[in-house]
């Protein structure tokens, strides 16, 4: 009887409590300028963002969170599909005025905007953000090397970057480039270029005390690498009032992002509406179940990326072309597709489908283990002790195990190192890490330009002491020069796309990677979320400003 009474009480109280919570959420809404909706939601991810710092973060997880926190002078349109790859004004009043020689960019900061802590946003904060890129050895610094004086500043020969001039009174910002750069507008739309106040440490990671925000959300709490909380930016109204119409307001009041290493538990939490969104796709064994039982709140999403095995081209045995070619012959994209639960499009090239310059080709028909073994026999590498790196996310760990077995079959004495996903890329990007021979790599487009798949990953200048993304340590002077030459042209210029396609082939002729697939992503939401409003952005994945509760 007592139990029955309790059950009845719970049944009666729960809807009332839910109504109360929803009402509270609605009351709180609108702090940032009319986003409406309201409510608190929970997001789960398998690996915590690498940094909660706009100048340093360079992972999918980091960008997905930070896109709606730190707003650059320019940004990408908040829209699904190709429309989302369009660069639009954000904190700048309009798109830059570019000089006829393509070397000078003039922008004007909107007036009277404030960061989330009330500090005014100034033009000089942009210059400070770019300086931080170099002082923190950010992986994103390679995009800004072309600014006049950037190299001197990075080398400590100058106190400021001479090519950036700002006027806090007028909001004028002038950027001088050493050479014309066809991607510079795209680059200005990345969070790397987001202004931050001078209270942010110049040469240190600010993850534990992130700078104040200029977007619809602010980071109110960080307990790296476990959880972070995003709340409405109380001063976002100043950004909207200044006319930044392309920077979209949030629809929910608070997002709690929590790391959960168990992908299957994340799926179950969403099925049971305990979590509202999972950043990573459901593990392959749950995918079919999710597709069939929760089709009304699950969909596959296009994403522009390439998955590959990197090989350190500066150390034996991968400094031998034949060894690298052998790996390309041996890798079976279909096997890796099955590890991904059938979400992968097979490939053997650098550029993914959907990227300008993509032209399908296959230099290493196979998988052909006999050919691979023959090449290894011809190369006869003296050093066969190699370390294979991967991270502990479910698919990645299995990919590493597959690759380890493949190398063993080819006669290598391979050792598999599995490290945490949230420190994986910073570990393999640090040249002091021992035994960086080969391992798992992936790359998602930062902006819709093929240079993004070549410069950070394969240009010799991208071999950095820390936060390097050139994991294969590729430095081919002719290809570097070609990249630099193409960068001065616009992608729409005649023949440029074809030249990028040729560059792709030139790298794969050197077998600098062993690419195997392009992954499709997913959106899986809880029942209480408005599934139709939320969308997947081609550059930043899920747009958190599109999250809304029904």
């Amino acid at each position: 009887m007592n139990t029955l009474r309790k059950v009845v009480a719970i049944v009666c109280i729960t809807p009332l409590a839910a109504f109360g919570v929803a009402a509270c959420g609605s009351d709180k809404g609108g702090g940032g300028g009319g986003g409406g909706g309201g409510g608190d939601i929970n997001v789960a991810l398998t690996s915590f963002p690498d940094y909660i710092d706009p100048q340093l973060s360079y992972t999918l997880e980091g960008w997905e969170v930070l896109w709606n926190v730190y707003t650059p002078l320019l940004t990408y349109k908040h829209a699904k599909g190709k429309e989302g790859t369009q660069v639009v004004p954000a904190l700048a009043e309009k798109m830059p005025d570019i000089s006829p020689d393509g070397k000078t960019y003039k922008l004007k900061l909107r007036q009277n905007m404030k960061y989330s802590d009330g500090t005014p946003i100034k033009a000089s904060d942009f210059a400070y953000g770019i300086q931080r890129l170099f002082k923190t050895d950010s992986g994103g610094s390679v995009f800004f090397n072309g600014i006049v004086g950037a190299k001197d500043y990075a080398d400590g020969k100058a106190n400021t970057i001479s090519g950036i001039k700002t006027d806090d009174n007028t909001g004028d910002i002038t950027i001088e480039l050493a050479e014309a750069n066809g991607t510079f507008e795209n680059v200005l739309g990345l969070m790397f270029a987001a202004p931050v106040p001078p209270s942010t440490p110049l040469d240190k990671d600010a993850t534990n005390n992130p700078p104040p925000s200029s977007g619809p959300f602010m980071i109110s709490k960080v307990e790296a690498p476990r959880t972070l909380t995003m709340e409405r930016n109380p001063n976002f109204k100043t950004v909207k009032d200044a006319g930044a119409d392309e920077v979209v307001d949030a629809s929910v009041d608070k997002i709690t992002v929590t790391e959960n290493k168990n992908n299957s538990a994340q799926v179950t939490d969403i099925e049971q509406n305990k979590v509202d969104f999972m950043v990573d796709p459901p593990a392959s064994d749950r995918l079919q179940e999710v597709k069939t039982r929760y089709g009304n709140r699950f969909r596959m999403e296009d994403s522009i990326n390439t998955y590959f095995f990197w090989m350190n081209t500066q150390k034996p045995p991968f400094n031998d072309l034949k060894v690298r070619q052998a790996i390309n012959y041996a890798v079976d994209p279909e096997a890796l597709n099955r590890i991904f639960g059938g979400r992968m499009h097979p490939t053997q090239q650098v550029l993914p489908p959907g990227m300008p310059g993509y032209s399908e080709y296959k230099l290493f028909p196979g998988p052909d283990m006999n050919k691979a073994k023959q090449l290894i026999a011809e190369a006869n590498p003296a050093d066969r002790n190699i370390t294979v790196w991967t991270n502990d996310e479910p698919d990645r760990k299995r990919i590493g195990e597959y690759y380890h077995d493949l190398l063993t079959q080819l006669g290598f004495n391979a050792t598999l190192k599995v490290i945490a996903g949230d420190v994986y890329f910073t570990t393999i990007g640090n040249e002091s890490t021992p035994d960086l021979d080969t391992g798992f790599g992936d790359w998602f487009q930062d902006f819709p330009h093929p240079d993004d798949f070549f410069r950070p990953l394969l240009h010799g200048d991208s071999i950095l002491p820390t936060n390097s993304n050139n994991w294969s340590r590729v430095n081919i002077p002719a290809n570097n020069a070609k990249q630099d030459e193409l960068l001065t042209k616009l992608i729409g210029d005649g023949g440029v796309e074809q030249q990028y396609a040729d560059l792709d082939k030139a790298y794969m002729e050197q077998a600098v990677w062993a690419p195997y697939g392009n992954e499709r992503f997913t959106t899986f939401l809880s029942e209480r979320m408005d599934f139709d409003k939320s969308y997947h952005h081609l550059l930043f994945n899920q747009d958190y400003s599109s999250f809304a509760i029904k």
Partner: protein
């Protein structure tokens, strides 16, 4: 002097066989008497036999792998097919679902998502788990005996220092200490003087497990040594001019050997449990090598669609640990019926 039969019997224990002339019992050593007691404990004997069968099962791994499964424990067969009931069947389906268990020689317990034969990995994993259990127990035993002998024999400041060190290790929860050491040593390995162990070596979890259990074994043995140190036969040995090392190893050690054997047995079971926990948490055996702990960790990701990947190695751990614990208790009762020793943590 002839000892009456009644004086050889242990209070509380069943009497020795009647009608046996005292002259026949007189020469029997304590080990034989222990065997007589153990033989009467049928449950312990059955559990000992179960453990032996598990060990034999695991030792047969290479035979099964070569003659039945035709694959090694780490070999991937993701895109291959096997013939089942005359039909070619994908080892791993295009949607990533691996083949399940069935009465076919290959893939008797199915495959995992990398197309590896679960039966082969179970057998090889058992070898790893039992090997770690035994080797870590040996490490614990050697370290514990050294610490206990030094502390118990010399007493004074040496005892104080060693006991406090043991207290410090004891103060850490075993699992947390194991995870901390396992994670720290995973990348760079262990280097102490000439001793160098690579980060992926099986000796890393062995050394970690062997180390964290030292206080649990060293402290009770030290207590026994302290008591023995006061006995007359030690005073006699000192009076005869025997040196400390000789007294420790020829007088004290033989008197605690039965305690050590019991601890060693019980320690194996505990070590296997800790190895499984550490491997499950990613701080024990390194992938792609199989142990029952890593198999549970791998299968845990597929618990909804392929629960056998988790349940089978879990059952093997239960069977092994249970059999070892019951057999260890029986051994303790047989070797020293008055002893109350147990591994407490």
């Amino acid at each position: 002097m002839v000892v009456p039969v009644g004086e050889l019997e242990v209070p509380g224990e069943p009497p020795l066989p009647t009608g046996v002339p005292a002259s026949q019992i007189q020469g029997r050593n304590p080990w034989y008497l222990a065997w007589l007691r153990l033989r009467r404990n049928k449950v312990a004997l059955v559990c000992g036999a179960v453990f032996v069968l598990i060990v034999l099962f695991c030792l047969a791994a290479p035979l099964w792998a070569e003659h039945v499964a035709h694959t090694g424990p780490n070999e991937n067969h993701i895109t291959e097919k096997v013939v089942i009931d005359g039909q070619p069947t994908n080892v791993v389906a295009p949607d990533g679902t691996p083949i399940g268990p069935g009465l076919h020689g290959q893939y008797l317990l199915g495959a995992d998502q990398n197309g590896r034969d679960v039966m082969v990995r179970l057998m090889y994993g058992g070898r790893t788990s039992i090997y770690i259990g035994l080797a870590a127990a040996a490490v614990t035993t050697v370290l514990s005996v050294i610490v206990a002998l030094l502390a118990g024999y010399y007493r004074g400041w040496i005892d104080s220092v060693l006991s406090r060190i043991m207290d410090v290790i004891w103060a850490f929860p075993v699992l947390l200490l194991g995870i901390a050491l396992g994670t720290a040593l995973a990348i760079g390995g262990l280097k102490i003087g000439p001793l160098a162990i690579a980060g992926d070596s099986i000796w890393i979890p062995i050394m970690i497990i062997g180390f964290v259990y030292v206080p649990y074994m060293a402290r009770p043995i030290r207590g026994e040594i302290l008591a023995l140190r006061e006995k007359e036969f030690i005073e006699a040995a000192v009076a005869q001019g025997k040196g400390p090392l000789r007294i420790m190893f020829s007088e004290l050690l033989p008197n605690i050997i039965s305690t050590i054997i019991v601890f060693f047995t019980l320690n194996i079971a505990n070590n296997m449990l800790l190895e499984s926990a550490l491997s499950f948490l990613g701080a024990g055996v390194r992938p792609p090598n199989a142990s029952w702990g890593t198999m549970i960790a791998d299968g845990y990701e597929m618990i909804y669609t392929a629960p056998h990947l988790t349940i089978v190695p879990g059952l093997m751990i239960i069977a092994t640990v249970l059999s070892l614990n019951v057999f260890g208790d029986g051994l303790r009762d047989a070797l020293d019926p008055r002893a109350k020793i147990r591994l407490e943590h």
